[in-house]
Point group: C2
Chain length 214, copies 2
């Protein structure tokens, strides 16, 4: 297979990384920012057209406030870094909840890409319930294209999902777009990101047949 068009990134293991360094859990998130920008650049330079980052979900907001504050701040910084880079950024999540940071409201409409840049989506206070809810509200749904009626309609089908931190699950990540995605797991924690992780994932993807269930 060629290079994936759309890559999903689940940057897990920040808290375990912090603990392994003798720090409290919430200290791990800041160390996930540079890896995020590097992952975006590797995708862009490899010919990937769209990258989606798992920021945080509505489930995650049940954690202690020192953690929710830390990952919210990291998402704000991540969005600004992607904008500075020139990505066509879309922040997507439930803006009607107090857990959605006001600073990110301007990015809930996709920004324009600078030359040579690609689409980047950042899930912020995203929930799969929230995503599918608009389907229940829609009128005259064309049932061959129900993905057009969900909140995340502007995010395309995922080809490859890479998860750091060893867990082998989606944890609420874009269920409709993940339906046919190939899933690659990196055991290292996200703050220990290394460009070889991406190269290994892309090389593995090349060995997969993509049939879309056919």
């Amino acid at each position: 297979m060629p290079i994936p068009k759309h890559v999903g990134i689940i940057p897990d293991g920040n808290r375990r990384w912090a603990q392994s360094k003798g720090m409290t859990k919430e200290k791990g998130y800041d160390n996930g920012l540079d890896p995020g920008l590097e992952a975006y650049r590797i995708c862009r330079d490899s010919g990937v057209k769209e990258v989606t980052f798992y920021g945080f979900t509505t489930d995650n907001t049940k954690r202690p406030s020192c953690q929710t504050e830390a990952f919210t701040k990291a998402c704000i910084n991540a969005a600004n870094m992607l904008i500075d880079e020139g990505a066509a950024l879309l922040v997507i999540g439930n803006t009607k909840s107090p857990m959605f940071p006001k600073e990110l409201l301007p990015y809930t409409n996709r920004s324009e890409a600078k030359e040579g840049q690609i689409k980047a989506n950042l899930l912020v206070n995203y929930g799969w319930h929230w995503d599918l809810n608009t389907l229940a509200d829609a009128q005259n749904v064309n049932k061959n294209n129900i993905q057009n009626y969900i909140q995340s309609f502007d995010i395309s089908r995922l080809d490859l999902i890479i998860r750091w931190g060893g867990r082998r699950r989606l944890s609420g990540f874009l269920p409709v777009q993940s339906i046919y995605a190939d899933f690659y797991v990196v055991d290292d924690y996200w703050p220990d990101f290394n460009s070889t992780h991406m190269a290994d994932a892309f090389n593995w993807y090349k060995t997969q047949d993509v049939t879309l269930g056919g």
Copy 2:
């Protein structure tokens, strides 16, 4: 973690197994029947409460007719074997399409379990589009429980999904129920099923933390 309550089985690799034995692809499906019954029994005897088998999806029906006929026949036989065993069987899929075998219509309402038996779900002509479509039709949806409005509402959240045949993807398997599931891949083809595959998957599951995104 304890034993999973609900286990999903993706029995892939039948066609590759047949080819590796010098047979034509469609010959592989019959050899997947005994493994299915054994997997059901292992789950039941381990304390699992519900097992869901990926039979075939609407995507799969695009394959050559000698294959669709072979996997349809295998699904009919699988359903009868599970009924004979005493499982509380539910066959679930789009019954309004000609690809749904009439022989399985009686099982689209869940049968009653014989003593000591558990729930077994078999996806037959299942499609994720078809599954989510009823959400678009539903009136007065309680948005905290949207899974109650999908076609597969009677299938509970999956804890563990085991896929044979080495592929690392869901291929359309119950997207809503798979959202938090841990995903275990067996490289062997499904007809080479061995009880140690199940034991390995259960032992691996025990080492996972289950947070449901929290």
